[in-house]
Symmetry: none
Subunit: 221 residues, 4 copies
């Protein structure tokens, strides 16, 4: 028997039963996201996920097929959300520097507010990205931010405020690195240097530093 995921995700058969089924599925995904984010793929336990769920262990296998597939579904959902978020956050109408500031600030905030996403991505890298590689749907979705950043860069160059020759992918990597690290390496950095990135004042300062750093890099000297 094959996992029921696809059919339900597409919302076919809108009867009461399938609505309940979708709720069950969603509930499992929520719980699993927390568990995988918390303990990683190897550390999370199917039994524990099932216990925290409104349904049972059997349902996890019914809907997702197994632990790895559930993990993949969780990962896919996490990326879907960040992409949705990024699409909501369109600042292209602002002047280029303002738009970039807004995008960076938004990116920093998103990372700080979604540590589970950060932890899932960390975990996926621990696993050499082998699971994300199996998610077919993911490839196209990432063009949006790059396109956005590219447009802003172009406008800024045109307006004479940004340097020419910056690759939007590099810009994105720069922003992401600074945001991501602030959440991903919080604990070791705290231990090694006594600074907790998640503390509100530190976090606020860090937000400004990151914006400042990226802008100084992009801005024409």
């Amino acid at each position: 028997m094959i996992a029921r995921g696809a059919a339900l995700a597409e919302g076919r058969k809108d009867s009461k039963r399938s609505r309940e089924a979708a709720e069950t599925r969603d509930n499992i995904l929520q719980v699993a996201t927390r568990e995988f984010a918390d303990k990683g793929l190897a550390g999370a336990r199917i039994d524990e996920i099932a216990d925290k769920t409104a349904s049972s262990k059997r349902m996890i296998y019914y809907y997702f097929g197994g632990k790895d597939e559930l993990y993949r579904a969780v990962l896919e959902r996490a990326y879907e959300r960040i992409r949705a978020q990024e699409q909501d956050a369109r600042f292209e109408n602002l002047p280029p520097a303002e738009a970039l500031r807004a995008i960076i600030g938004h990116n920093v905030d998103y990372h700080f507010e979604n540590p589970d996403f950060v932890r899932l991505v960390m975990n996926e890298n621990v696993h050499y990205g082998e699971h994300i590689a199996q998610i077919a749907s993911m490839k196209q979705r990432n063009s949006t931010i790059i396109a956005s950043l590219g447009a802003i860069l172009d406008k800024g160059v045109e307006a004479g405020v940004f340097r020419a020759g910056i690759d939007p992918v590099d810009l994105h990597a720069m922003i992401s690195a600074l945001s991501f690290y602030s959440v991903s390496n919080r604990h070791t950095f705290l231990h090694n240097f006594g600074v907790d990135f998640a503390e509100p004042t530190v976090r606020a300062k860090r937000r400004e530093l990151i914006i400042g750093c990226v802008l100084s890099w992009v801005t024409r000297a």
Copy 2:
């Protein structure tokens, strides 16, 4: 019976036997570093570590006491190495901008050349830093880089090339974030944007971008 680590670490009794014992211990640490870096604490298997070792599973318990303690020993050793590396790399005699460039480049290189260290630190953050917190010896070791960066910043400000008011800890966080992410998030970034940070040309470009970015931030406008 308590794990034999301490005595050997201090190198007491330089007989042939204890030298062999130290080799056994070291061999275990090397293998364990690879395994924990590869699969994480939860994913690594004591049996597998033992099999790849010149000695046996029993010896792991004899020398380290258990999986968690072995992991902690691995972590401690990894940090010891990077600190040693950082102390070797002293560029304070160079002019401030050159010194900073050298330090950043060195930091980027170290991360690229020691992905195991990066992966261990990721893993430790996945575990909320709970193991690093138990390593007593670690607290003091981190002042060196901060002091180095502080000295360079001061010299740069004095020479009129750097902005005043930059906290060396923030500077270190900036450098580390950009270096760390280039290694830690290699796989998801490759999948999402088709760029492999580890590819020689990409890596070289990235090294320059990071140096450029940080310097543009630090340099007086």
Copy 3:
């Protein structure tokens, strides 16, 4: 996931499946009783218990949670049985001396016929009673025998055949000591004095001696 003991013990849901499950559980308890009685808690092996069971090692953990909990379940069941036995054996309608003789004889017989119970109790005392202390249900059950003995003593005192002032708990301790020792110390006594309490003629004689001793103590001079 928590051990399934409670629900089954209460006999909920009388379907075929749960009946079979109760059988599995019972079968494990029987085998475990023999093993723990035979080798003690430290000496018994979960593997060996599982092998002698109709089910598997995994089921032991499913139903009981662990070795200690299984041992506690075994202990609880053993006490439940002796209490049930004691409640069946009501001789209060007999004249006091006859009633007491019957109770003592019954007590001696029970110990001789249930060496496993004796051995479990020995083992529990070897463990300083730490496991019995964790069995909540046990406290109340022991009043019955004391009440019985108290009633018989009262009747005997009233009838002028028993001495006044004997505490029924002391009387029970006296009877139990003589019965228990006859089984518990069989092997060392045999080795030291060449007498095997379990040999039918010795056992029969011992039964009479114990009855005689206790009655001589209780009887009015």
Copy 4:
């Protein structure tokens, strides 16, 4: 290489070295007695015994050969001590009833004051007396108490205060049972009936009850 026990026990070669050796041996025996009494044969750990010793694990094997042999040596020593004690306690010059009272009181006291001995004997019975059976020296030693009791009984019968026909072995069994149980079953009795035999007032009362019970049995009606 054979264990060095015998030669040392006999005190051959009274040099300084062998005196030290005897001390080492004695120290091991003391520690092992505590550990075996505390945890039983299966529960005690050679490593733990060695750690609590002034010498090392290797010495245990050197002197005793192995865990079982050490246990046997412990057991033998424990019995040696009680026999010595019993021989010291000679009350044959007293009038028979007084002598018997003294012997019983002494027996009760010895058990209460040597719970380790009681626990070792319990343990040996848990092991079906298989180890005591291998100690050759033990057989003859037990005649002393029986002879003592026999002599007292004879004198009592002659004096008209004791009943005829009591087997001294049965008398010893009666006394031992009541003494032994007071120590061996302390924990379960406490849990089941709320009475702690080891509490000074309870213990004193119990001493008198046991003396009273045995004397009422032996005394001519």
